[in-house]
């Protein structure tokens, strides 16, 4: 089970927060803060795994990758393969990259909804849904098309009304 997915920037600001289990709102914020304090201390040449800290317990691991200004942190229990999750993070980031063409932190801020949609195509209910980037992209593109189409439609409707 993936218990949570967090994207945090180098200064500890959350850029994407997704919890796959019920966690009280205040605790979520604490989890983000603790996660950042644990990970930001680590240099880039150490391993990508950490024990869960006080919020998650010993059996849970924080698995993260650091890309430029962002930390991508997946919080997983012992049933997931640590190395497999690293690959999954890679899949997620590559998908973002394709979607936004050279993704940067600003994309995540201004299109936080789109980022969530992409994540929803990869992980659902804490389990891996799709790992094939082509499939992910295809789904996202079609959904976006549908959205644009329906927007145009509603625009024309309002025009006609006028």
């Amino acid at each position: 089970m993936i218990r949570a997915v967090l994207v945090i920037n180098n200064h500890g600001k959350a850029r994407l927060v997704k919890f796959y289990e019920v966690i009280a709102f205040e605790k979520q914020q604490r989890a983000i803060a603790e996660c950042y304090s644990l990970i930001s201390k680590r240099s880039d040449d150490v391993c990508n795994f950490l024990e869960g800290g006080s919020i998650w317990g010993k059996e849970t691991k924080l698995i993260y990758r650091h890309y430029a200004t962002l930390y991508f942190v997946f919080i997983v229990d012992e049933s997931e393969s640590e190395l497999g999750i690293l690959d999954l993070i890679q899949v997620f980031v590559e998908s973002l990259d394709k979607c936004f063409e050279n993704v940067c932190e600003l994309d995540l801020i201004f299109h936080s909804d789109k980022v969530s949609y992409i994540l929803d195509e990869i992980i659902m209910g804490g389990l891996v849904l799709e790992t094939n980037k082509e499939e992910i992209m295809q789904a996202i593109e079609e959904e976006n098309k549908l959205e644009i189409a329906s927007r145009k439609e509603s625009l024309t409707v309002t025009k006609i009304k006028r």
């Binding site: 936080s112 949609y117 929803d120 789904a139």
Partner: protein, 888 residues
């Protein structure tokens, strides 16, 4: 949506304004609803409350416009969880959307179920999900499978509905084309097979419970059911390894590692515990292990999962060796992640494949020097598993070197120190090495050593006469080096306590045999040292009363420190007094007496009390009695402390005293309901036993108590010295030491406190035969208890006892009922039925009752108990009740 605020304050302002604006906007229905909700998602992520937006999400998902629906669902999943009150309102919409013509709308509903579906929603919408699982396009099927995982984890009773679907999938190759559908379906199967694992009856549960049995059987049923698909899974796996290069599933040169890992994981669950199933997998696993070769992470992920399954199922020896070799390859890799997983895995299998793992000892020790804390922790865990009696010296030596050289990382060092203590205790090949190593550990990292270690160490020294002199000298020199540096002393509480204690006990030995290359220690030097230390430890403030009950110590480090300072000062005072009987230098003795005299009116109640008492002890008591009181301690039993240390060794953050927290007693007498520890403290007080105080604080203090308890009571007369002290001061730090006042004040002399029977006295324990303890002699009824320690070496805590009931009257007594109650926090009582319910007339010890007493604080506190004896007098037909209290 601009959030370029420079300060948190600014940000908060903007968010509040925006929230207000959104709130108003939500009230008016307008076309910006979607945008407003999107803003809410962002505000939520920043950590501000957004409950007011929940209703809006529910409205948005009912919208017929896809963009609104889409953002509505997204917000729903982020702003709500399964427990929110508004969630049931969405059920109708979810159902409608599951039947929608548009697959993307269906997908939204499925995602919502998988992410936040509550029990009710899961149950009600299960049939819709089932339909989608087989007939829909793969885009929907994969999502339906994961929604199904949520459904069966919320409603296990629905599992059977999904098994059939999985059968179809596994037996039909057409259905297996899409890898994502496969991965998610495998997830579903794993969940089905695993679902009951959590409910598997554990040992504590009643196995006869019909429900549990049924659950256990069901769980097995699912495993057995899916075992028949092992060949198909293996074929899939083999197909993946052998498949030609396929771009769409390729990750780092490996064909869909995610699917491979998933299949391996399911196989692991299915193969566990079955030799036959494991055998079937053997060949393919070898293939995976040998054919997967990748410098990249993806290949290693597959290899790692492969090793995991090899170690978990009933693999052949050869395969296991292959697995461990693979791990050792990881261990030698430059990739930190690989080293990490290798160490973690090795620690798990070390107990089973000890020798294979042990061959890599050197590499593992290297990992202890890694720059990465995560890896060091793993390496430490692994080394701990590897230590045994043969390699203890070298491995602990390695750990010691590491401890001395490593930079300051407090939490890790603390863990390391605690674990080292346990290792030294458990595996030390000889006593001398044990003491020396412990001492070294205390000197090197005293600030991390837990207080129990002081007790263990002191106990060990009392048991090893030949080392006392040498160790005391070493401690003297060590303390002398740091005595002027206040900050060091305050950190090294344990070293200080141990050192001061040894000097107090064995100062004369340290004076005697000076070796040629050492400079001899003089009596003045010793006294100087103690006084210097005393002056360097800050006093407790007058108001600073600290409760010594276990929980408080951990609350604030401040209180912990100051408490431990008090204990250190108590140690110093005691050592000074003890010195008086060990040294001949009259100047020094005078100096100590003057110090006590001066402190008799110090503004610190407990310290003052001690000074008063010791002053009286030194000045007014007869020489012979004083000598006996201040005599050397007898060897102290420490086994139970060691045991409790080993039990709690993993949890170094526990407050020290919690180790001694009450264990649940196995008393067969259901007299009292279970008490909380606080109640237990009080109940002890109620028993009026001045010597046995609360089970808290520092153990060595309790040792002093029991020392006095056994030696002083018969020496001291009821000397009428009135002291202005409060007997019930056990809430205070020094309270544990407050036994002298109990002994010196007239009211509380004898240790045996009879309630209704006359004082009981008995002879010293006889080493060979059972010790006979009279419990009652009244109205012709005599009760005697013969107790014996069966195994004084290995298990001195356990006392076996037989109670003999005698009746010298000419009539019999019937309906006898003998009950006992013990201080539950340190004594376990197991009582058997009496041999008869009647004691015939003129009988001597014909009726017996057996019992077992385990003293968890053996050597620290004596066994004490209350008893109640109830019988029916056949001559008068009356019920008689006798009570008493015994301290062994």
């Amino acid at each position: 949506m601009v959030r370029d605020c420079k300060t948190a304050e600014e940000e908060r302002k903007v968010v509040t304004t925006e929230c207000a604006a959104i709130r108003t906007a939500l009230k008016e229905q307008n076309q910006y609803r979607a945008k407003n909700v999107a803003k809410l998602i962002y505000i939520h992520m920043l950590g501000y409350p957004t409950q007011f937006g929940q209703m809006e999400c529910v409205t948005l998902i009912t919208s017929s416009k896809y963009p609104e629906k889409r953002i509505g669902y997204l917000a729903l999943m982020i702003l709500l969880d399964e427990n929110q009150e508004v969630l049931p309102l969405t059920e109708h919409t979810l159902k409608k959307d599951l039947d929608d013509k548009n697959q993307f709308v269906q997908a939204l509903a499925l995602t919502t179920i998988a992410n936040i579906g509550s029990v009710d929603i899961c149950r009600d919408l299960s049939s819709e999900v089932e339909k989608l699982l087989i007939t829909a396009p793969s885009y929907i099927r994969k999502k339906a499978a994961l929604a199904a995982v949520r459904i069966i984890s919320k409603c296990p009773e629905l599992i059977d509905n999904y098994i059939e679907k999985m059968d179809t999938l596994l037996s039909n190759e057409q259905q297996q084309r899409n890898h994502a559908v496969l991965i998610t379906s495998l997830c579903l199967i794993i969940e089905i097979v695993r679902a009951k694992t959590d409910d598997q009856p554990t040992q504590t549960q009643d196995l006869n419970n019909e429900d549990d049995k049924k659950k256990y059987v069901t769980k097995r049923k699912y495993v057995l059911h899916f075992r028949k698909y092992i060949p198909i899974l293996l074929k899939l796996l083999r197909g993946l390894i052998m498949s030609p290069y396929a771009l769409e599933h390729d990750v780092g040169g490996v064909s869909d590692p995610f699917l491979q890992v998933k299949i391996l994981r399911l196989l692991r669950v299915l193969g566990k515990g079955s030799t036959k199933a494991s055998e079937a997998m053997n060949d393919v696993l070898v293939q995976v292990a040998t054919n997967t070769d990748s410098p990249k992470n993806a290949g290693n992920a597959v290899l790692y999962e492969c090793v995991k399954i090899i170690m978990d199922i009933e693999s052949e020896k050869g395969l296991r060796v292959l697995g461990i070799n693979q791990l050792s390859k990881f261990l030698g890799s430059r990739d930190h992640n690989l080293r990490y997983v290798a160490l973690q895995m090795l620690a798990k299998v070390a107990h089973k494949d000890f020798h294979d793992v042990n061959r890599h000892q050197k590499t593992i020790i290297e990992c202890l020097k890694d720059a990465d804390l995560s890896i060091r922790k793993r390496a430490l865990d692994l080394i701990i598993v590897l230590v045994n009696q043969d390699n203890c010296k070298s491995l602990v030596g390695e750990l010691m070197t590491y401890l001395q050289s490593s930079s300051n990382e407090d939490s890790f060092k603390e863990q390391l120190t605690t674990k080292m203590c346990t290792l030294i205790e458990t595996y030390a090949p000889d006593k001398e090495w044990k003491i020396d190593t412990l001492l070294k550990l205390i000197i090197t990292s005293g600030q991390y050593v837990r207080e129990e270690i002081a007790t263990v160490f002191i106990g060990l020294i009392t048991q090893s006469k030949e080392l006392q002199s040498r160790i005391t000298k070493k401690l003297f020199h060590t303390l002398k080096k740091i005595s002027s540096n206040q900050s060091v002393i305050l950190k090294q509480g344990v070293l200080l306590q141990v050192g001061v204690w040894c000097i107090g006990e064995y100062a004369d030995l340290a004076l005697d045999g000076s070796e040629p290359d050492e400079e001899p220690i003089s009596q003045e030097q010793i006294v100087d040292l103690l006084f210097e230390l005393m002056s360097n430890i800050p006093r407790e403030s007058i108001n600073g009363k600290h409760s010594t009950t276990s929980s408080d110590d951990s609350d604030s480090s401040n209180s912990k420190w100051s408490t431990s300072h008090d204990i250190s000062r108590a140690f110093l005072l005691m050592a000074l007094v003890k010195l008086c009987s060990h040294i001949s230098d009259s100047n020094s003795v005078e100096r100590i007496k003057t110090f006590l005299d001066q402190n008799r009116n110090v503004m610190e109640l407990e310290f003052q009390q001690r000074c008063c008492e010791y002053y009286v002890l030194l000045n007014d008591l007869e020489e012979e009695k004083r000598r006996k009181i201040l005599d050397r301690m007898p060897p102290i039993e420490i086994q139970h402390i060691v045991n409790s240390l080993a039990n709690s060794g993993n949890n170094s953050n526990q407050p020290s005293s919690s180790v001694k927290s009450p264990k649940s007693p196995t008393t067969t007498l259901p007299i009292q309901k279970p008490k909380t520890s606080l109640e237990q403290l009080i109940s002890i007080d109620e028993e009026d036993q001045p010597v046995i105080t609360a089970p808290s604080g520092n153990n060595s203090m309790s040792i002093l108590e029991s020392f006095f308890d056994s030696d002083v009571t018969d020496v001291l007369p009821s000397n009428p010295i009135s002291l202005p002290v409060n007997n019930k001061s056990s809430g205070n730090t020094f309270g544990e030491m407050s036994l002298l006042d109990g002994l010196l004040s007239p009211a509380l002399g004898p240790v045996v406190m009879p309630v209704s029977t006359p004082p009981v006295s008995f002879s010293a324990p006889n080493q060979n035969g059972p010790r006979k303890v009279p419990l009652l002699n009244k109205n012709g009824i005599t009760i005697r208890m013969d107790c014996k320690v069966l195994d004084a070496v290995n298990n001195p805590q356990l006392l076996n006892a037989i109670i003999y009931f005698s009746n010298s009257n000419s009539y019999e007594i019937s309906n006898i009922d003998f009950m006992m109650s013990v201080p539950k926090n340190y004594i376990n009582l197991q009582m058997f039925k009496s041999s008869d319910s009647k004691v015939p007339a003129n009988s001597d010890g014909k009726v017996t009752q057996k019992l077992k007493l385990t003293n968890l604080q053996h050597g620290v506190k004596p066994i004490s108990f209350k008893f109640k004896f109830q019988y029916k007098d056949e001559s008068s037909q009356q019920i008689v009740v006798e009570e008493g209290k015994i301290v062994l």
